[in-house]
Protein backbone atom coordinates (compact mmCIF):
# COMPACT_ATOMS: atom_id res chain seq x y z
CA UNK A 1 0.00 0.00 0.00
CA UNK A 2 1.12 3.53 -0.72
CA UNK A 3 1.93 6.31 1.64
CA UNK A 4 -1.25 8.15 2.65
CA UNK A 5 0.28 11.50 1.73
CA UNK A 6 0.92 10.57 -1.90
CA UNK A 7 -1.26 10.95 -4.96
CA UNK A 8 -4.84 11.89 -4.22
CA UNK A 9 -4.11 11.86 -0.49
CA UNK A 10 -1.67 14.77 -0.87
CA UNK A 11 -4.45 17.25 -1.50
CA UNK A 12 -5.62 19.74 1.09
CA UNK A 13 -8.24 18.27 3.49
CA UNK A 14 -10.82 20.85 2.41
CA UNK A 15 -10.48 19.92 -1.27
CA UNK A 16 -10.59 16.20 -0.43
CA UNK A 17 -13.63 16.52 1.84
CA UNK A 18 -15.60 18.60 -0.69
CA UNK A 19 -14.83 16.08 -3.41
CA UNK A 20 -15.88 13.13 -1.23
CA UNK A 21 -19.10 14.85 -0.13
CA UNK A 22 -20.16 15.47 -3.72
CA UNK A 23 -19.34 11.93 -4.84
CA UNK A 24 -21.17 10.44 -1.81
CA UNK A 25 -24.27 12.57 -2.36
CA UNK A 26 -24.52 11.81 -6.07
CA UNK A 27 -23.75 8.10 -5.72
CA UNK A 28 -26.04 7.51 -2.75
CA UNK A 29 -29.07 9.42 -3.91
CA UNK A 30 -29.19 9.06 -7.66
CA UNK A 31 -31.00 6.02 -8.99
CA UNK A 32 -29.69 6.26 -12.53
CA UNK A 33 -27.87 3.15 -13.81
CA UNK A 34 -25.35 5.12 -15.86
CA UNK A 35 -24.39 7.32 -12.92
CA UNK A 36 -24.22 4.29 -10.64
CA UNK A 37 -22.03 2.27 -13.01
CA UNK A 38 -19.70 5.24 -13.54
CA UNK A 39 -19.45 5.70 -9.79
CA UNK A 40 -18.84 1.96 -9.30
CA UNK A 41 -16.10 1.92 -11.96
CA UNK A 42 -14.45 5.03 -10.53
CA UNK A 43 -14.49 3.60 -7.00
CA UNK A 44 -13.08 0.23 -8.06
CA UNK A 45 -10.36 1.90 -10.18
CA UNK A 46 -9.33 4.17 -7.31
CA UNK A 47 -9.19 1.32 -4.81
CA UNK A 48 -7.20 -0.77 -7.29
CA UNK A 49 -4.75 2.11 -7.73
CA UNK A 50 -4.48 2.66 -3.97
CA UNK A 51 -4.56 -0.88 -2.60
CA UNK A 52 -3.44 -3.05 -5.53
CA UNK A 53 -4.81 -6.19 -7.11
CA UNK A 54 -4.12 -8.58 -4.24
CA UNK A 55 -6.14 -6.57 -1.74
CA UNK A 56 -8.94 -6.33 -4.29
CA UNK A 57 -9.25 -10.10 -4.63
CA UNK A 58 -8.90 -10.71 -0.90
CA UNK A 59 -11.97 -8.59 -0.14
CA UNK A 60 -13.92 -9.24 -3.35
CA UNK A 61 -15.87 -12.08 -1.70
CA UNK A 62 -17.45 -9.83 0.90
CA UNK A 63 -18.54 -7.30 -1.70
CA UNK A 64 -19.88 -10.04 -3.96
CA UNK A 65 -22.01 -11.56 -1.17
CA UNK A 66 -23.32 -8.10 -0.27
CA UNK A 67 -24.11 -7.48 -3.93
CA UNK A 68 -26.00 -10.75 -4.44
CA UNK A 69 -27.91 -10.37 -1.18
CA UNK A 70 -29.23 -6.95 -2.10
CA UNK A 71 -29.82 -7.68 -5.80
CA UNK A 72 -31.74 -10.91 -5.19
CA UNK A 73 -33.75 -9.79 -2.17
CA UNK A 74 -35.43 -6.85 -3.89
CA UNK A 75 -37.79 -8.86 -6.18
CA UNK A 76 -38.99 -10.75 -3.10
CA UNK A 77 -40.15 -7.56 -1.38
CA UNK A 78 -41.15 -5.34 -4.26
CA UNK A 79 -43.95 -6.53 -6.55
CA UNK A 80 -44.18 -3.43 -8.72
CA UNK A 81 -43.53 -3.70 -12.42
CA UNK A 82 -45.50 -5.15 -15.31
CA UNK A 83 -43.41 -8.12 -16.53
CA UNK A 84 -43.88 -11.02 -14.13
CA UNK A 85 -41.17 -13.67 -14.42
CA UNK A 86 -42.85 -16.21 -12.18
CA UNK A 87 -45.15 -16.34 -9.16
CA UNK A 88 -44.08 -17.00 -5.61
CA UNK A 89 -46.81 -17.41 -2.97
CA UNK A 90 -49.29 -15.85 -5.42
CA UNK A 91 -47.10 -12.75 -5.63
CA UNK A 92 -45.46 -11.83 -8.94
CA UNK A 93 -41.66 -11.70 -9.10
CA UNK A 94 -41.07 -9.07 -11.74
CA UNK A 95 -38.25 -8.24 -14.12
CA UNK A 96 -38.42 -4.56 -13.15
CA UNK A 97 -37.95 -5.30 -9.46
CA UNK A 98 -34.96 -7.44 -10.38
CA UNK A 99 -33.42 -4.56 -12.33
CA UNK A 100 -34.12 -2.19 -9.46
CA UNK A 101 -32.37 -4.59 -7.08
CA UNK A 102 -29.39 -4.77 -9.43
CA UNK A 103 -29.20 -0.98 -9.52
CA UNK A 104 -29.39 -0.71 -5.70
CA UNK A 105 -26.74 -3.40 -5.28
CA UNK A 106 -24.33 -1.62 -7.62
CA UNK A 107 -25.03 1.66 -5.83
CA UNK A 108 -24.38 0.25 -2.36
CA UNK A 109 -21.22 -1.62 -3.34
CA UNK A 110 -19.95 1.54 -5.08
CA UNK A 111 -20.55 3.56 -1.91
CA UNK A 112 -18.79 0.86 0.14
CA UNK A 113 -15.76 1.08 -2.15
CA UNK A 114 -15.76 4.89 -1.93
CA UNK A 115 -15.85 4.67 1.85
CA UNK A 116 -12.94 2.23 1.78
CA UNK A 117 -10.88 4.91 0.00
CA UNK A 118 -12.31 7.64 2.24
CA UNK A 119 -11.11 5.81 5.35
CA UNK A 120 -7.53 5.77 4.06
CA UNK A 121 -7.44 9.22 2.47
CA UNK A 122 -9.38 11.27 5.05
CA UNK A 123 -7.44 10.39 8.17
CA UNK A 124 -8.64 11.51 11.59
CA UNK A 125 -5.97 14.27 11.65
CA UNK A 126 -7.38 15.78 8.47
CA UNK A 127 -10.87 15.47 9.88
CA UNK A 128 -9.90 17.28 13.08
CA UNK A 129 -8.02 19.93 11.11
CA UNK A 130 -11.14 20.61 9.02
CA UNK A 131 -13.58 20.85 11.91
CA UNK A 132 -11.18 22.43 14.41
CA UNK A 133 -12.28 25.95 13.49
CA UNK A 134 -16.01 25.30 13.21
CA UNK A 135 -16.37 23.24 16.40
CA UNK A 136 -13.15 23.82 18.39
CA UNK A 137 -14.35 22.24 21.63
CA UNK A 138 -15.66 19.05 20.05
CA UNK A 139 -12.55 18.77 17.92
CA UNK A 140 -10.46 19.02 21.06
CA UNK A 141 -12.51 16.21 22.62
CA UNK A 142 -12.18 14.22 19.42
CA UNK A 143 -8.42 14.59 19.18
CA UNK A 144 -7.94 13.86 22.89
CA UNK A 145 -10.10 10.76 22.66
CA UNK A 146 -8.17 9.59 19.60
CA UNK A 147 -4.92 10.03 21.52
CA UNK A 148 -6.32 8.29 24.61
CA UNK A 149 -7.64 5.32 22.70
CA UNK A 150 -4.31 3.57 21.98
CA UNK A 151 -3.05 4.56 25.44
CA UNK A 152 -6.09 2.91 27.03
CA UNK A 153 -5.70 -0.23 24.96
CA UNK A 154 -2.06 -0.48 26.02
CA UNK A 155 -2.93 0.13 29.66
CA UNK A 156 -5.74 -2.40 29.42
CA UNK A 157 -3.26 -5.08 28.42
CA UNK A 158 -0.92 -4.08 31.26
CA UNK A 159 -3.69 -4.36 33.85
CA UNK A 160 -4.91 -7.62 32.37
CA UNK A 161 -1.42 -9.14 32.59
CA UNK A 162 -0.98 -7.95 36.18
CA UNK A 163 -4.38 -9.26 37.33
CA UNK A 164 -3.80 -12.57 35.62
CA UNK A 165 -0.38 -12.87 37.23
CA UNK A 166 -1.83 -12.47 40.73
CA UNK A 167 -4.42 -15.12 39.87
CA UNK A 168 -7.66 -13.10 39.74
CA UNK A 169 -8.78 -14.99 36.64
CA UNK A 170 -7.59 -17.71 34.33
CA UNK A 171 -8.85 -16.32 31.02
CA UNK A 172 -10.14 -19.76 30.09
CA UNK A 173 -13.72 -20.22 28.99
CA UNK A 174 -16.40 -17.84 27.89
CA UNK A 175 -17.82 -16.57 31.16
CA UNK A 176 -14.43 -16.21 32.78
CA UNK A 177 -13.17 -14.17 29.86
CA UNK A 178 -16.11 -11.77 29.93
CA UNK A 179 -15.92 -11.42 33.73
CA UNK A 180 -12.19 -10.78 33.47
CA UNK A 181 -12.65 -8.19 30.72
CA UNK A 182 -15.22 -6.34 32.80
CA UNK A 183 -12.99 -6.41 35.89
CA UNK A 184 -9.93 -5.14 34.05
CA UNK A 185 -12.09 -2.53 32.39
CA UNK A 186 -13.24 -1.26 35.79
CA UNK A 187 -9.64 -0.80 36.89
CA UNK A 188 -8.88 1.00 33.65
CA UNK A 189 -11.79 3.37 34.24
CA UNK A 190 -10.52 4.29 37.72
CA UNK A 191 -7.09 5.15 36.45
CA UNK A 192 -8.39 7.01 33.42
CA UNK A 193 -10.72 9.21 35.45
CA UNK A 194 -8.06 10.18 38.00
CA UNK A 195 -5.60 10.97 35.21
CA UNK A 196 -8.23 13.12 33.50
CA UNK A 197 -8.15 15.55 36.41
CA UNK A 198 -4.37 15.82 36.14
CA UNK A 199 -4.64 16.55 32.45
CA UNK A 200 -7.20 19.26 33.11
CA UNK A 201 -5.01 21.01 35.68
CA UNK A 202 -2.04 20.82 33.35
CA UNK A 203 -4.01 22.20 30.42
CA UNK A 204 -5.23 25.14 32.47
CA UNK A 205 -1.69 25.84 33.70
CA UNK A 206 -0.44 25.90 30.14
CA UNK A 207 -3.08 28.40 29.14
CA UNK A 208 -5.86 26.45 27.45
CA UNK A 209 -8.75 28.72 26.54
CA UNK A 210 -6.80 31.98 26.71
CA UNK A 211 -7.63 34.38 23.88
CA UNK A 212 -5.31 34.94 20.94
CA UNK A 213 -3.87 31.46 20.63
CA UNK A 214 -3.25 30.11 17.15
CA UNK A 215 -3.37 26.61 15.68
CA UNK A 216 -0.58 24.62 14.17
CA UNK A 217 -1.33 22.82 10.96
CA UNK A 218 0.79 21.00 8.48
CA UNK A 219 -1.53 21.42 5.48
CA UNK A 220 -0.93 24.05 2.83
CA UNK A 221 -3.51 25.20 0.36
CA UNK A 222 -1.85 25.31 -3.08
CA UNK A 223 -2.91 25.91 -6.63
CA UNK A 224 -3.71 22.28 -7.32
CA UNK A 225 -6.14 22.24 -4.40
CA UNK A 226 -7.90 25.22 -5.92
CA UNK A 227 -7.96 23.35 -9.22
CA UNK A 228 -9.51 20.28 -7.61
CA UNK A 229 -12.17 22.35 -5.83
CA UNK A 230 -13.05 24.22 -9.04
CA UNK A 231 -13.28 21.01 -11.06
CA UNK A 232 -15.37 19.42 -8.32
CA UNK A 233 -17.75 22.38 -8.10
CA UNK A 234 -18.12 22.69 -11.89
CA UNK A 235 -18.94 18.97 -12.30
CA UNK A 236 -21.26 18.95 -9.28
CA UNK A 237 -23.21 21.97 -10.51
CA UNK A 238 -23.77 20.27 -13.87
CA UNK A 239 -24.80 16.96 -12.25
CA UNK A 240 -27.11 18.56 -9.68
CA UNK A 241 -28.80 20.75 -12.30
CA UNK A 242 -29.26 17.65 -14.41
CA UNK A 243 -30.86 15.85 -11.47
CA UNK A 244 -33.06 18.81 -10.51
CA UNK A 245 -34.36 19.39 -14.03
CA UNK A 246 -35.08 15.69 -14.43
CA UNK A 247 -32.99 15.29 -17.55
CA UNK A 248 -31.40 12.06 -16.30
CA UNK A 249 -34.50 10.52 -14.77
CA UNK A 250 -34.76 6.80 -15.10
CA UNK A 251 -37.91 4.84 -14.34
CA UNK A 252 -37.93 1.24 -13.15
CA UNK A 253 -41.66 0.98 -12.49
CA UNK A 254 -44.07 0.17 -14.05
CA UNK A 255 -41.65 -0.60 -16.88
CA UNK A 256 -37.97 0.23 -17.42
CA UNK A 257 -37.96 3.50 -19.31
CA UNK A 258 -35.81 6.57 -19.66
CA UNK A 259 -36.19 9.97 -21.24
CA UNK A 260 -32.74 11.15 -22.14
CA UNK A 261 -31.63 13.90 -24.47
CA UNK A 262 -28.41 15.71 -25.35
CA UNK A 263 -28.35 17.36 -21.91
CA UNK A 264 -28.26 13.95 -20.20
CA UNK A 265 -25.03 13.02 -21.95
CA UNK A 266 -23.40 16.24 -20.75
CA UNK A 267 -24.43 15.30 -17.20
CA UNK A 268 -22.99 11.80 -17.62
CA UNK A 269 -19.73 13.22 -19.01
CA UNK A 270 -19.46 15.63 -16.08
CA UNK A 271 -20.06 12.84 -13.59
CA UNK A 272 -17.56 10.56 -15.35
CA UNK A 273 -14.93 13.29 -14.93
CA UNK A 274 -15.87 13.72 -11.25
CA UNK A 275 -15.77 9.99 -10.59
CA UNK A 276 -12.49 9.24 -12.39
CA UNK A 277 -10.65 12.41 -11.27
CA UNK A 278 -8.84 10.74 -8.33
CA UNK A 279 -7.93 7.73 -10.47
CA UNK A 280 -6.48 10.02 -13.14
CA UNK A 281 -4.51 11.91 -10.49
CA UNK A 282 -3.17 8.64 -9.03
CA UNK A 283 -2.16 7.40 -12.48
CA UNK A 284 -0.47 10.67 -13.35
CA UNK A 285 1.49 10.53 -10.10
CA UNK A 286 2.61 6.95 -10.79
CA UNK A 287 3.64 7.76 -14.37
CA UNK A 288 5.71 10.77 -13.29
CA UNK A 289 7.33 8.67 -10.58
CA UNK A 290 8.31 5.92 -13.03
CA UNK A 291 9.40 8.46 -15.62
CA UNK A 292 11.84 10.07 -13.21
CA UNK A 293 13.12 6.72 -11.97
CA UNK A 294 14.06 5.59 -15.45
CA UNK A 295 15.91 8.85 -16.01
CA UNK A 296 18.28 8.41 -13.11
Amino acid sequence: MQNITSGFGAFHPLALMLWFVSIFIVSMFSMNPVITLLSFAGAVCLSLARFGLRDFFRHAGFYLIMFLLIALSNPLFSHNGETPLFYLNHQPVTLEAFFYGLETAFMIVAVLYWFKCFNVLMTSEKFIYLFGRVIPRLSLILSMALRLLPAFLRRYRQIARAQKAIGLFSGKGWTDQIKASAMVFGALVSRALENAIDTGASMLARGYGLPGRSHFSIYRFTRRDLFLICADLACSVVVFTGMATGSIRFFFYPSVRCSWNAASYIVFAAFALLSFLPFIIECKEKLTWNYYISKI
Binding site: Y100, I178, E194, G200
Partner: protein, 224 residues
Amino acid sequence: MKRIFGLLIIIVFIPALIVLGGFMFREQSYTWLAVCIALLSLVPVFLNFEKKDLRTERLILIAVMTALSAASRMVFAYIPHFKPITALIIITGIYLGAESGFVTGALSALISNFLFGQGAWTPMQMFSWGIIGCFAGLLHKPLQKSLPLTVLYGAVSGVLYSLLMDLYSTLWFGGEFSIARYGAMTLTSMSTTILYVISNVLFLLLLTRPIGKKLERIHTKYGF
Protein backbone atom coordinates in the same frame (compact mmCIF):
# COMPACT_ATOMS: atom_id res chain seq x y z
CA MET B 1 -27.24 40.20 13.61
CA LYS B 2 -25.73 36.83 14.44
CA ARG B 3 -29.04 35.78 15.98
CA ILE B 4 -30.97 36.77 12.86
CA PHE B 5 -28.49 34.85 10.75
CA GLY B 6 -28.91 31.78 12.96
CA LEU B 7 -32.70 32.03 12.73
CA LEU B 8 -32.44 32.43 8.97
CA ILE B 9 -30.49 29.18 8.76
CA ILE B 10 -33.11 27.32 10.80
CA ILE B 11 -36.18 28.77 9.06
CA VAL B 12 -34.98 29.07 5.47
CA PHE B 13 -31.80 27.14 4.81
CA ILE B 14 -32.56 23.78 6.44
CA PRO B 15 -36.08 23.31 5.01
CA ALA B 16 -34.78 24.46 1.63
CA LEU B 17 -32.01 21.87 1.80
CA ILE B 18 -34.45 19.08 2.63
CA VAL B 19 -37.04 20.08 0.02
CA LEU B 20 -34.47 20.68 -2.70
CA GLY B 21 -32.79 17.34 -1.97
CA GLY B 22 -36.12 15.56 -1.91
CA PHE B 23 -36.93 17.09 -5.26
CA MET B 24 -33.56 16.28 -6.80
CA PHE B 25 -33.28 12.74 -5.51
CA ARG B 26 -36.90 11.75 -6.05
CA GLU B 27 -36.26 8.00 -5.95
CA GLN B 28 -34.17 8.24 -2.79
CA SER B 29 -35.96 11.12 -1.08
CA TYR B 30 -36.69 9.08 2.08
CA THR B 31 -33.03 8.17 2.53
CA TRP B 32 -32.12 11.80 1.99
CA LEU B 33 -34.62 12.80 4.67
CA ALA B 34 -33.20 10.22 7.10
CA VAL B 35 -29.60 11.37 6.58
CA CYS B 36 -30.65 15.02 6.90
CA ILE B 37 -32.52 14.39 10.15
CA ALA B 38 -29.62 12.39 11.59
CA LEU B 39 -27.00 15.01 10.71
CA LEU B 40 -29.08 18.12 11.40
CA SER B 41 -30.13 16.87 14.83
CA LEU B 42 -26.45 16.93 15.75
CA VAL B 43 -26.05 20.59 14.76
CA PRO B 44 -28.06 22.38 17.50
CA VAL B 45 -26.65 20.15 20.26
CA PHE B 46 -23.09 20.62 19.06
CA LEU B 47 -23.48 24.41 18.65
CA ASN B 48 -25.05 24.74 22.08
CA PHE B 49 -22.21 22.67 23.52
CA GLU B 50 -19.65 24.97 21.89
CA LYS B 51 -21.21 28.11 23.35
CA LYS B 52 -21.86 26.81 26.85
CA ASP B 53 -19.65 27.81 29.76
CA LEU B 54 -17.91 24.55 30.65
CA ARG B 55 -14.97 23.75 32.87
CA THR B 56 -11.96 22.25 31.17
CA GLU B 57 -12.13 19.17 33.39
CA ARG B 58 -15.63 18.45 32.13
CA LEU B 59 -14.35 18.46 28.55
CA ILE B 60 -11.64 16.00 29.48
CA LEU B 61 -14.09 13.75 31.34
CA ILE B 62 -16.18 13.60 28.17
CA ALA B 63 -13.07 12.85 26.12
CA VAL B 64 -12.13 10.07 28.55
CA MET B 65 -15.60 8.53 28.50
CA THR B 66 -15.63 8.73 24.69
CA ALA B 67 -12.23 7.06 24.44
CA LEU B 68 -13.32 4.41 26.97
CA SER B 69 -16.45 3.53 25.03
CA ALA B 70 -14.49 3.37 21.78
CA ALA B 71 -11.82 1.26 23.50
CA SER B 72 -14.51 -1.04 24.91
CA ARG B 73 -15.64 -1.70 21.35
CA MET B 74 -12.07 -2.81 20.56
CA VAL B 75 -11.49 -4.80 23.75
CA PHE B 76 -14.56 -6.95 23.10
CA ALA B 77 -13.84 -7.25 19.37
CA TYR B 78 -13.61 -11.03 19.79
CA ILE B 79 -17.40 -11.34 20.14
CA PRO B 80 -19.34 -9.61 17.35
CA HIS B 81 -22.15 -7.25 18.45
CA PHE B 82 -21.41 -7.98 22.10
CA LYS B 83 -20.00 -4.66 23.27
CA PRO B 84 -20.25 -2.49 26.39
CA ILE B 85 -20.30 0.71 24.32
CA THR B 86 -24.04 1.39 24.75
CA ALA B 87 -23.79 0.65 28.47
CA LEU B 88 -20.95 3.15 28.85
CA ILE B 89 -22.83 5.82 26.92
CA ILE B 90 -25.87 5.28 29.15
CA ILE B 91 -23.71 5.54 32.28
CA THR B 92 -22.16 8.77 30.97
CA GLY B 93 -25.61 10.17 30.29
CA ILE B 94 -26.85 9.26 33.77
CA TYR B 95 -23.88 10.69 35.68
CA LEU B 96 -22.67 13.57 33.49
CA GLY B 97 -25.99 14.84 32.10
CA ALA B 98 -28.02 14.71 28.91
CA GLU B 99 -25.79 16.96 26.83
CA SER B 100 -22.59 15.12 27.76
CA GLY B 101 -24.42 11.84 27.09
CA PHE B 102 -25.38 12.97 23.60
CA VAL B 103 -21.89 14.24 22.79
CA THR B 104 -20.24 11.08 24.15
CA GLY B 105 -22.61 8.86 22.18
CA ALA B 106 -22.20 10.70 18.91
CA LEU B 107 -18.42 11.06 19.16
CA SER B 108 -17.93 7.43 20.26
CA ALA B 109 -19.61 6.34 17.05
CA LEU B 110 -17.43 8.66 14.99
CA ILE B 111 -14.17 7.69 16.72
CA SER B 112 -14.66 3.95 16.81
CA ASN B 113 -15.56 4.14 13.12
CA PHE B 114 -12.14 5.62 12.38
CA LEU B 115 -10.93 2.16 13.42
CA PHE B 116 -13.83 -0.04 12.32
CA GLY B 117 -14.37 1.94 9.09
CA GLN B 118 -16.58 4.91 8.34
CA GLY B 119 -19.57 4.23 6.17
CA ALA B 120 -22.96 5.42 5.11
CA TRP B 121 -24.14 4.18 8.52
CA THR B 122 -21.97 6.65 10.51
CA PRO B 123 -24.54 9.52 10.68
CA MET B 124 -27.29 7.14 11.79
CA GLN B 125 -25.03 5.53 14.41
CA MET B 126 -24.02 8.94 15.74
CA PHE B 127 -27.67 9.93 15.95
CA SER B 128 -28.82 6.68 17.61
CA TRP B 129 -26.10 6.53 20.26
CA GLY B 130 -26.43 10.28 20.86
CA ILE B 131 -30.17 9.95 21.48
CA ILE B 132 -29.62 6.96 23.80
CA GLY B 133 -27.10 8.95 25.88
CA CYS B 134 -29.33 12.02 25.86
CA PHE B 135 -32.41 10.22 27.18
CA ALA B 136 -30.33 8.48 29.83
CA GLY B 137 -29.33 11.96 31.01
CA LEU B 138 -32.90 13.28 30.95
CA LEU B 139 -34.05 10.30 33.03
CA HIS B 140 -31.08 10.47 35.40
CA LYS B 141 -33.18 10.94 38.55
CA PRO B 142 -35.04 7.62 38.47
CA LEU B 143 -32.15 5.79 36.80
CA GLN B 144 -29.59 6.83 39.42
CA LYS B 145 -31.81 5.49 42.19
CA SER B 146 -32.70 2.13 40.76
CA LEU B 147 -30.44 -0.33 39.00
CA PRO B 148 -33.33 -2.45 37.60
CA LEU B 149 -34.70 0.63 35.83
CA THR B 150 -31.27 1.35 34.34
CA VAL B 151 -31.04 -2.22 33.11
CA LEU B 152 -34.53 -1.95 31.63
CA TYR B 153 -33.51 1.28 29.88
CA GLY B 154 -30.47 -0.54 28.51
CA ALA B 155 -32.61 -3.36 27.14
CA VAL B 156 -35.04 -0.90 25.53
CA SER B 157 -32.23 1.13 23.98
CA GLY B 158 -30.67 -2.03 22.56
CA VAL B 159 -33.93 -2.74 20.71
CA LEU B 160 -34.30 0.93 19.74
CA TYR B 161 -30.78 1.06 18.31
CA SER B 162 -31.36 -2.05 16.23
CA LEU B 163 -34.74 -0.77 14.97
CA LEU B 164 -33.27 2.60 13.98
CA MET B 165 -30.38 1.04 12.07
CA ASP B 166 -32.76 -1.39 10.32
CA LEU B 167 -35.03 1.50 9.38
CA TYR B 168 -32.10 3.23 7.75
CA SER B 169 -31.07 0.12 5.78
CA THR B 170 -34.67 -0.46 4.71
CA LEU B 171 -34.93 3.06 3.31
CA TRP B 172 -31.57 2.91 1.60
CA PHE B 173 -31.89 -0.56 0.07
CA GLY B 174 -35.48 -0.15 -1.05
CA GLY B 175 -35.76 3.54 -1.84
CA GLU B 176 -39.06 3.60 0.03
CA PHE B 177 -40.50 2.35 3.27
CA SER B 178 -42.04 -1.08 2.90
CA ILE B 179 -43.42 -2.85 5.95
CA ALA B 180 -42.59 -6.27 4.49
CA ARG B 181 -38.95 -5.37 3.93
CA TYR B 182 -38.65 -3.72 7.34
CA GLY B 183 -40.18 -6.79 8.95
CA ALA B 184 -37.77 -9.07 7.12
CA MET B 185 -34.84 -6.84 8.11
CA THR B 186 -35.79 -6.83 11.78
CA LEU B 187 -36.36 -10.60 11.69
CA THR B 188 -32.97 -11.34 10.13
CA SER B 189 -31.25 -9.01 12.56
CA MET B 190 -33.17 -10.52 15.49
CA SER B 191 -30.13 -12.44 16.73
CA THR B 192 -28.08 -9.23 16.67
CA THR B 193 -30.81 -7.37 18.54
CA ILE B 194 -30.90 -10.08 21.18
CA LEU B 195 -27.12 -9.85 21.54
CA TYR B 196 -27.39 -6.06 21.91
CA VAL B 197 -30.00 -6.45 24.63
CA ILE B 198 -28.05 -9.14 26.49
CA SER B 199 -24.78 -7.19 26.32
CA ASN B 200 -26.45 -3.95 27.45
CA VAL B 201 -28.14 -5.69 30.37
CA LEU B 202 -25.04 -7.61 31.39
CA PHE B 203 -22.62 -4.70 31.15
CA LEU B 204 -25.00 -2.29 32.87
CA LEU B 205 -25.33 -4.81 35.73
CA LEU B 206 -21.54 -5.18 35.91
CA LEU B 207 -20.45 -1.58 35.30
CA THR B 208 -23.14 0.88 36.45
CA ARG B 209 -22.34 0.78 40.17
CA PRO B 210 -18.50 0.73 39.92
CA ILE B 211 -18.20 3.42 37.24
CA GLY B 212 -21.04 5.46 38.70
CA LYS B 213 -19.32 5.42 42.09
CA LYS B 214 -16.07 6.57 40.47
CA LEU B 215 -17.78 9.40 38.62
CA GLU B 216 -19.57 10.44 41.82
CA ARG B 217 -16.28 10.35 43.68
CA ILE B 218 -14.69 12.63 41.06
CA HIS B 219 -17.67 14.92 41.55
CA THR B 220 -17.34 15.12 45.34
CA LYS B 221 -13.55 15.28 45.28
CA TYR B 222 -13.07 17.93 42.61
CA GLY B 223 -16.52 19.47 42.29
CA PHE B 224 -17.79 18.96 38.76
